[in-house]
């Protein structure tokens, strides 16, 4: 038998076909790619910059515990999300992160086909107008979560936030709103007005999950939700609601919601 041929030179990993690099990067996810792999060599960075598919889902991820990421302050993490959204070249479908003043209109321009938007920290000193205007442009949005940092200012905006969001996003399947809380704002619980949910909402044909935290719900408001959302399967209310005021009719209506949680208490006098 002939002796084995001499071992060829070590393979050039930088020359790995770009579709394989893409496959590997998709497994790594945006954080890992930016922190390490794409900086290793030019051909790999080229894949990171030229493959919008890599950046379809961008977000702060509690499960990502790499210490290089954990040690970054929130504002620094936010820079990463912005770069990632821009690299998606309009194809970003899911975003989860903070929206400080003025970022939302930018996000909406850069990610017009978002299907899922999770704003973990919404702060805008303007009233809700800007939020609603931006949401209107996301015509494919199905899943929306917003955690409000401040109470909504109704001084020169007389619409209900819930109603306005429903109007702006009629295709929603899931809506979670966490209104500002007294604890977070460090003010006295007794003097703090929770977000009122009292008015009518438009018909939300596709909505199957609605969760409202830190709100003050009236029976009228609850009636409107049940009537407006024929497909509702999960309803969670956390805040003030007086269950004793529910009449038989309303109780009956509520019975058709599969997962109903009224984690509420009566508003203190």
């Amino acid at each position: 038998m002939a002796p084995p041929p001499p071992a060829p030179a070590a393979r050039d990993w930088a020359a790995l076909p770009s579709d394989i690099v893409l496959d590997v990067f998709l497994r790594l996810g945006p954080h890992e790619v930016m922190l390490g792999a794409e900086q290793a060599c030019k051909p790999w960075r080229h894949v990171a910059l030229e493959e919008p598919m890599l950046w379809r889902r961008v977000g702060l991820d509690e499960d990502y515990t790499d210490k290089r990421w954990i040690r970054c302050p929130c504002s620094v993490k936010q820079q990463m999300l912005r770069v990632a959204v821009d690299r998606a070249k309009g194809q970003c479908e899911a975003f989860k992160g903070n929206c400080y003043d003025g970022y939302l209109p930018h996000l909406v321009r850069r990610a017009p086909i978002l299907r899922s938007l999770n704003i973990q920290h919404y702060s805008d000193y303007e009233n809700g107008k800007r939020l609603v205007k931006a949401l209107k442009k996301l015509t494919l949005l199905e899943d929306l979560e917003i955690y409000f940092k401040y109470s909504i200012d109704y001084e020169d905006w007389d619409k209900s936030m819930l109603q306005s969001i429903c109007k702006a996003c009629p295709r929603l399947k899931k809506l979670v709103l966490m209104y500002a809380s007294a604890t977070e704002l460090e003010c006295d619980e007794d003097e703090f007005d929770k977000e009122p949910v009292d008015g009518p909402i438009p018909v939300m044909r596709n909505l199957h999950t609605l969760k409202l935290y830190e709100c003050e719900l009236s029976c009228k408001g609850l009636n409107a939700i049940i009537d407006g959302c024929p497909r509702l399967e999960t309803l969670l209310i956390d805040g003030y609601f007086n269950k004793r005021k529910m009449d038989e009719n309303l109780k009956l209506k509520c019975a058709r919601v599969k997962n109903l949680t009224l984690d509420t208490m009566k508003k203190p006098p």
Partner: protein
């Protein structure tokens, strides 16, 4: 599972292959012959499935000029192991996170199969899997490569994969600016 490259024995193999149509014979770029389960080859490789269906399989050894013998041996080994393994329910990635799409996790034997490979052999295998359209083997090899990158800095990744830093000072500065957060140090 190398058959042999000696002429007489290859002839012998051909007769066996003809008698038993359950296998196909593949020929590497350096002329070595390998025998693989026809069913597994057709199931695991879109390219081989196409060749089998299209009748372009050569009983004397189908030429795969792009694939060296070491990589082809691994491909064949993988196919034959796959033919004998009991498929478990598809395992979806345990690390489902917001940012990464769910992937099928490699099974235990698949993990061991790629873990024993040298870096060069892994490189050749992933290329071969890509060339032959072997989705499952690509899953397994790409998973392994991603594991080798996880949690590592650019320098560490270059070291693992023996990659030369091909950036100029200006280009590095550009990266530093775009990815300022990645250089955050408190």
């Amino acid at each position: 599972m190398e058959v042999d490259k000696g002429k007489g024995e290859a002839e012998e193999t051909r007769k066996v292959a003809e008698a038993d149509r359950d296998t196909v014979t593949l020929k590497s770029s350096d002329g070595k012959l390998f025998e693989v389960s026809k069913e597994a080859a057709a199931r695991l490789s879109t390219v081989l499935a196409g060749m089998i269906a299209g009748g372009s399989i050569d009983d004397n050894g189908t030429d795969l000029k792009q694939i060296g013998s070491e990589a082809l041996e691994n491909v064949v080994d993988y196919c034959n192991k796959h033919a004998n393994s009991i498929p478990s329910a598809a395992l979806i990635s345990s690390s489902i996170s917001f940012n990464t799409a769910p992937f099928k996790e490699p099974e235990e034997w698949e993990r061991k199969f790629v873990d024993r490979l040298s870096h060069d052999a892994l490189f050749d295998l992933v290329e071969a899997a890509n060339f032959l359209g072997m989705e499952r083997l690509l899953d397994v090899t790409c998973h392994k490569i991603s594991e080798m990158m996880k949690g590592k800095s650019p320098d560490q990744i270059r070291e693992v994969f023996n990659i030369k830093n091909d950036y100029t000072k200006e280009e590095l500065e550009e990266i530093r600016q775009e990815l300022a957060w990645a250089f955050y140090d408190d």
